[in-house]
């Protein structure tokens, strides 16, 4: 378990800049911590950090805490938080971006099946085999697309 203390060395200003430069995410800076995102989240009960805390950690640049958090993988994209936020922070879209970054950096925890599933799903749809029309068992792949 990580000790509950952080020094300035734990902060990544680059990460903070990145997260606040996501479309609409500059509004994270205006968060007043009302907790509407957390309380409206159907998965809150299972999260290590609440969405509110995660936004704050991101704003402060605690990259390891954010990308290592379960929270991003629990998000089901139900958009309740996004719709409720009084400061109009696009929480769901930020969650997507965090998932992408965690996968890119390979920092997600292996025992969580969700990122792996996402990865596999993407492979299944695109999979580098953008070839002929194929009524797969699960997904319809686009035909005649050589890749984008």
């Amino acid at each position: 378990m990580r000790p509950n203390i952080r020094t300035e060395a734990d902060r990544s200003p680059e990460f903070a800049r990145w997260i606040t430069s996501l479309p609409g995410a500059e509004k994270i800076q205006e968060c007043m911590h009302c907790g509407l995102c957390s309380a409206s989240c159907p998965l809150f009960a299972y999260m290590d950090y609440s969405p509110r805390q995660l936004m704050h950690l991101g704003r402060e640049g605690f990259e390891a805490d954010v990308l290592g958090s379960f929270t991003i993988w629990l998000c089901t994209s139900c958009y309740q938080c996004t719709v409720e936020c009084p400061r109009q922070i696009p929480v769901t879209e930020i969650m997507y971006a965090l998932k992408r970054r965690a996968i890119e950096e390979g920092v997600y925890t292996e025992h969580l099946p969700i990122p792996i599933l996402a990865r596999e799903f993407q492979r299944m749809v695109a999979g580098g085999i953008w070839s002929a029309r194929d009524d797969s068992r699960f997904v319809r792949r686009p035909s005649g697309v050589d890749g984008i």
């Binding site: 911590h33 907790g35 957390s38 609440s50 509110r52 009084p86 400061r87």
Partner: protein, 687 residues
């Protein structure tokens, strides 16, 4: 009129005094005295100097034609700054002054005064705005400085054409119109009336008292609103200097400071106000045996008849009839039992709307606010779940004269055992109103206290931040916290009614301090609705020719230094129409507005800018182009001489006629063609 057209070309700089740049005299032209200009560039501490290179501006100014002296100084508006102008006028023989500092709206008067103190006509002055228009809006020092130099050059070129002018005096009528009869309007009206001024107090509703009359206790002292308000309401009614007009709308405002002509429309209440004594026998006699229609004063929590008294403490104590609901109006076939019951024959079914014109010197706007419509935040379930209330409804519930006689009970008559109060409903939310409504924290704490006292329920206050800046406010917060009210820092995310049918609600909220979501059952949920501008604020501000700020509240002339004035002279603001306020603040502001109005009236006249227009008779061809353009009918045609003539008493100085005159024979003081041409040339003439 004295013409001082002459000005010479600039001479070389020949000496420097105290670091200032001083030019020699310009040569005499056309026999007029030479133009000798003093330019003063203000640092405004670092407000200007940080972004504008004031030394460079001063140096450049010193090189301009006719500039005798150019100096920069830390604070030109300070006594030493003004003294410097005065001394330079005396010692260097200056006859024109230019000050480059802040907006003329702030200090033009100050520097005209300094110019006059030096013995010059105050209108031999021109101000340059290099703070609001340069240093505060630009970051790049080079371009801000360049802009400042251009603006100073424009002023120097312009001021050479200035003439000596006299301000105009306009008499002020001593009567004042107060619009709105809430606590703000009542306070303003009484203050003025006590000072011996006649006040027309116009109220849209059937009774004065406004929102305050609906409240029970007032924070933080918990004194009863009615006890402190009702005496004031009766004073208004009784005061010989106040003409109270209820059910009256202002439909048109014409004229200007000192003599406004206000058209008001009295809507019929179908009762002769001078005859009705408020005995209410007509109400008892009404064919409706019980109340049938939502009582507005009780926010729909009780029912009333079509003929009713607005509320028990109503002033005037006069009933009214709602023609939408009264059978006599809809069918014409009512037994008219009310008519029989009234022994004073005060009921007039055929009463008609009446229009009246009032003449006043000043106007005080006290039109108040409306509470946020909780239906606009649908996730709180207001209007869907019966046990979700607005704070205003609960104010009526806790009120001893309210629909439950002060009992806090649910719609089914049960006492709640747990009550939630949601702060910031319709406040601090980009989807509704972004501002803090300022009073909700305190009134929510007050309701928490009153409910706890009356029901002994568990009370949960769900807040984002508790804001208690005010005398005795923090202490009150402490007291309520000590009473065991749950203070949960988090905004309620969802509310729904439990399935078992007794109306209990489940509330989901993040307890942000504990870092967990809490699911709390409450019998009653109170929404602390915020304050917002009235729905017709935009219409009203047009009628009175004032401004709204971006959020829709009426805009004050200056946020700090002129908080009760507007951009329209003689129109003042009091209370929540300008922004959310609590009662003490409202009363203070109403007093201030009354004070400003008094200061205006008691002088009996106002000095106006001499920026009127006049016709150069020999140039006028009598074409009459200007005559229909004047919005004030100030231009007449002299048939004998075949030329136009402007009545400068009526002229307001807009300059529309000047721009339209084909022969260029109309001149507007302070905005003469030549002055404007020179100013345009000045900003463009760059080296």
């Amino acid at each position: 009129m004295l013409r001082e057209d002459g000005f010479g070309s600039g001479s070389t700089r020949d000496r420097a005094v105290d670091g200032a740049t001083v030019n020699g005299d310009a040569p005499l032209t056309n026999g007029n005295p030479p133009i000798r200009i003093g330019v003063y560039v203000c640092h405004c501490g670092t407000n200007i100097a940080r972004t504008v290179d004031v030394e460079q501006v001063t140096e450049k100014a010193g090189e301009l034609p006719n500039v005798t002296v150019a100096r920069d100084y830390k604070y030109m508006c300070s006594d030493p700054g003004q003294e410097m102008i005065k001394e330079d006028i005396e010692e260097l023989g200056l006859n024109r002054i230019v000050v480059a500092s802040c907006s003329p709206n702030l200090h033009e008067e100050t520097f005209r005064g300094a110019t006059a103190a030096g013995g010059l006509n105050p209108f031999f002055f021109q101000m340059v705005n290099i703070r609001e228009h340069a240093s505060w809006v630009h970051e790049d020092r080079e371009s801000a400085t360049e802009k400042a130099i251009d603006l100073v050059r424009a002023a120097v070129q312009r001021v050479r054409h200035h003439r000596a002018l006299e301000t105009r005096r306009v008499p002020i009528r001593p009567e004042v119109l107060v619009v709105g009869g809430g606590i703000a309007g009542i306070t303003a009206a009484l203050t003025l009336a006590h000072a011996g001024k006649h006040v027309y107090l116009v109220e849209r509703e059937a009774s004065i008292g406004g929102h305050m009359a609906q409240f029970d206790k007032t924070f933080p002292t918990l004194d009863c609103a009615a006890c402190i308000l009702t005496p004031k309401m009766t004073q208004v009614k009784a005061h010989p200097n106040i003409t109270l007009m209820t059910m009256t709308d202002v439909v048109k405002v014409e004229g200007f400071v000192g003599s406004y002509e206000v058209t008001v429309k009295h809507r019929p209440r179908y009762i002769d106000v001078s005859l009705c004594v408020g005995c209410q026998q007509c109400i008892d006699a009404c064919v409706y045996k019980r109340g049938k229609f939502e009582d507005e004063f009780d926010v729909g929590l009780s029912k009333r008849k079509p003929i009713y008294l607005p509320n028990a403490q109503a002033v005037p104590q006069v009933v009214l009839i709602d023609p939408e609901q009264c059978i006599q109006f809809s069918s014409g076939k009512c037994k008219q039992t009310c008519l029989e019951a009234c022994d004073r024959d005060a009921i007039l079914f055929d009463q008609e709307e009446r229009v009246e014109t009032l003449e006043v010197g000043a106007i005080i706007m006290a039109t108040g606010f409306q509470t946020f419509d909780a239906r606009r935040s649908p996730h709180y379930g207001y209007g869907i779940y019966p046990n979700v209330y607005t704070a205003l409804e609960v104010e009526r519930l806790v009120n001893a004269s309210g629909p439950t006689g002060g009992e806090v009970v649910l719609r089914d008559g049960e006492k709640p055992t747990s009550v939630g109060i949601v702060h910031c409903v319709g406040s601090r939310d980009q989807k509704t109103n972004p501002w803090c409504s300022k009073v909700c924290c305190m009134y929510s704490l007050k309701l928490a206290h009153l409910i706890k006292e009356k029901t002994d329920a568990e009370v949960y206050n769900f807040y984002i931040d508790i804001r208690t800046p005010g005398k005795g406010f923090e202490e009150f917060y402490q007291r309520v916290a000590a009473e065991g009210t749950h203070l949960i820092r988090g905004k309620v995310a969802s509310v729904y009614q439990q399935a078992d049918g007794d109306g209990e609600l489940l509330v989901d909220v993040e307890d942000t301090l504990a870092g967990m979501v809490r699911r709390i059952p409450v019998d009653m949920l109170i929404l602390a609705v915020g304050l917002e501008p009235r729905a017709d604020a935009e219409e009203v501000r047009r009628t009175f020719n004032i401004t709204c700020s971006g959020d829709g509240w009426f805009m004050e002339r200056h946020p700090k230094l002129a908080p009760v004035e507007t951009f329209t002279d003689g129109v003042y603001l009091a209370g929540c129409c300008q922004g959310p306020k609590d009662i003490p603040e409202t009363v203070a502001q109403a007093g201030a507005a009354a004070g400003q109005a008094l200061a205006l009236i008691d002088r009996a006249y106002i000095e106006l800018e001499p920026n009127t227009a006049h016709v150069i008779a020999e140039d006028c061809s009598g074409c009459k182009t200007c005559i229909p353009l004047c919005p004030y009918q100030a231009i007449l045609h002299d048939d004998a001489e075949n030329r136009a003539e402007i009545n400068e008493v009526l002229c307001k100085g807009c300059g529309v006629c000047v721009a339209a005159c084909p022969s260029g024979s109309i001149v507007q003081n302070l905005f003469e063609d030549m002055e404007i041409y020179e100013e345009i040339e000045g900003v463009l003439a760059y080296a």
